[in-house]
């Protein structure tokens, strides 16, 4: 009986600590949310309270009416989809080959890819700028897509190769005996089995493009070409207390799709990422 009581006390304590930790974790997000729906913009007043007295969605409306958010969203989507298609389209066959076949140069290339993965693309920004500008690709979507696909191609190849390694070869051998060529094997056997890693890799590429701001603000000039990340960055850069409620509303809106995708794919996260050689 005494032991049981002690156990219960311990559980209560653990629960209390965890609730507190969760609350502290959420403070920045909750505060942003509270500011974004607060009708009185009394940010500077001393009577500010965490829970707004009068609720409004005016700031969310202002995001869409006063800022070119829809345009930025469109730019981000175009960039993200193109990058995902190119990175996966080139990455899947290469990952399959590197996982299944042994050929001269394979090991060396894999080693090189590991090194390249360690290199932050930020460091070659000057070189990329200098190379893209004579081709007229600065301030164009194509230029950014080129930069993003390069960075993500290394990641996609490594991550999917790691997962392909875990798919038993025997499955393919049976198909080979039936006379299936490599293309058919990939399409019919590998792709259906590799869904988790393809989903996770695509998600990581998408999130990367969605969140990338530094290339975007340096390579794109002019509000109409901004991505969501660059747009948000420019919103906060002319930071005044007046634009902060709009900024917090926009931030939460931009985060929402990423949160949804993340939690939808969370089940696949562990298997799709941890079996690969590289984690994002």
């Amino acid at each position: 009986m005494h032991r049981k009581g002690k156990q219960r006390l311990k559980l209560t304590l653990v629960n209390l600590i965890l609730i507190l930790v969760c609350f502290v974790t959420f403070i920045p997000i909750l505060y942003a949310f509270s500011v974004s729906i607060n009708e009185q913009n009394s940010l500077l007043g001393s009577d500010f309270s965490f829970i707004p007295r009068r609720v409004t969605i005016a700031n969310y409306r202002r995001v869409f009416t006063e800022e070119p958010v829809v345009l930025w969203f469109r730019n981000s989507m175009i960039l993200a989809v193109s990058t995902v298609v190119i990175a996966l389209g080139t990455g899947i066959p290469a990952a399959y080959i590197f996982s299944r076949r042994r050929f001269p140069g394979r090991k060396a290339i894999l080693q090189l890819l590991i090194l390249l993965y360690a290199f932050p693309s930020l460091l070659s920004m000057t070189a990329l700028y200098k190379l893209l500008s004579p081709m007229g690709l600065i301030n164009t979507r194509t230029g950014l897509i080129i930069v993003y696909t390069g960075t993500m191609a290394v990641f996609a190849l490594w991550n999917m190769k790691g997962y392909f390694d875990t798919i038993p070869v025997e499955l393919e051998e049976a198909a080979k005996i039936d006379g299936a060529g490599p293309l058919r094997i990939v399409l019919r056997i590998i792709l259906p089995l590799a869904k988790p890693t393809i989903a996770v890799t695509a998600m990581m590429v998408l999130i990367y493009v969605w969140n990338e701001y530094i290339f975007s603000i340096n390579f794109m000039t002019g509000e109409s070409t901004y991505t969501l990340a660059a747009g948000l960055y420019s919103l906060q850069a002319n930071e005044t207390s007046g634009s902060w409620p709009v900024f917090s509303a926009a931030s939460l809106l931009v985060s929402l799709p990423i949160l949804v995708i993340f939690f939808a794919l969370q089940k696949n996260m562990t298997s799709g990422l941890t079996s690969g050689g590289v984690k994002g």
Binding site: L44, F48, P182, W210, W244
Partner: protein, 301 residues
């Protein structure tokens, strides 16, 4: 024999054909710019010499590595301090929280876990900007509103080096802990419970069990993720850049990691040659680093 040889050659050709699109892409967009960065690092390219630069040999490297005032060495030192401090805090806090999550009989375990990984799912730059404006802003940030309520005068959190470093560390922990908690939590679940039972019978306390059972058991499982986190912490750019040194909105703190240092020299002071030299040095450090911890791919040969 000859037939086998041609078939092998044919196989190699097919392999390269299949991987060609990806490899060509990587060569053109990743490798070539790195080589080009290496070339720029040997020149005096800057905003005045954008087209008319000269090759000046290793002078940029000499300036970065031998002239202490250039700032690179102090940035490197700060990056090491930053990485060590962040890794220790991350591992300790994540370990404690993961242990709490694994308390026997905890019904809301999955609920807490889901809530705790939300920062991981948020876009990183959004979180950092929310911290910057929402928490640390000297006029309407939440911290200063609390300070005011408690009767203190407002503090400019990001204006001096030490408090800015602490603020950056807090934000980085907020961003990075969810991943670490997930990894350690998964590792803890895989530890064989029977070890603990026999240790309890022997009267081992929590510290002893942690030291002799838990840590040795989870170490190999979490090692790869820890190594990756060391790399990302070492290469951290967003937190420090966005919090303290956005172009046109510097807060007054002068904390530079090697990445923000390279960036500032390239895009703020436009010293491209010098910045490229710094980039190449960073690349070499990263290569050496990965050789030291031997992060070779696990391969079934």
């Amino acid at each position: 024999m000859k037939k086998a040889n041609t078939r092998k050659k044919y196989g190699t050709l097919i392999s390269y054909l299949w991987s060609a699109p990806s490899l060509i892409l990587i060569c053109l967009i990743v490798i070539f710019p790195i080589l080009y960065t290496g070339y720029i690092s040997l020149t005096n390219m800057n905003v005045y010499h954008w087209f008319t630069y000269d090759v000046i040999g290793l002078r940029n490297y000499r300036e970065a590595l031998l002239v202490f005032d250039s700032g690179f060495l102090s940035a490197l030192l700060l990056t090491v301090v930053w990485t060590v401090a962040n890794m220790i805090l991350q591992l300790v806090i994540a370990y404690l929280l993961a242990n709490l999550l694994n308390t026997k009989g905890l019904r809301l375990r999955n609920c807490y876990r889901t809530l705790l990984i939300v920062p991981w799912a948020m876009p990183g730059y959004v979180s950092i900007l929310l911290w910057k404006t929402g928490m640390f802003n000297s006029q309407f940030g939440l911290l200063n509103q609390w300070m005011e309520k408690l009767g203190f005068s407002p503090v400019r959190w990001l204006a001096n080096d030490i408090s800015a470093f602490v603020c950056c560390t807090i934000v980085n922990l907020w961003l990075a802990l969810p991943f670490m908690i997930t990894i350690i939590d998964g590792a803890l679940q895989s530890v064989d419970q029977s070890y603990y039972e026999s240790a309890l019978l022997d009267g081992a306390g929590w510290l002893q069990r942690t030291r002799y059972i838990t840590i040795p058991a989870i170490r190999p499982i979490i090692a790869p993720s820890v190594v990756i986190t060391i790399f990302t912490t070492f290469k951290q750019f967003d937190v420090i850049y966005l919090l303290t040194q956005q172009a046109g909105a510097k807060t007054g703190a002068h904390i530079h990691t090697i990445l923000t240092y390279a960036y500032e020299n390239a895009f703020i002071t436009n010293n491209y040659g010098y910045s490229s030299a710094v980039s190449m040095i960073i690349f070499v450090i990263l290569i050496l680093f990965s050789y030291v911890i031997n992060m070779k791919p696990k391969e079934e040969s």
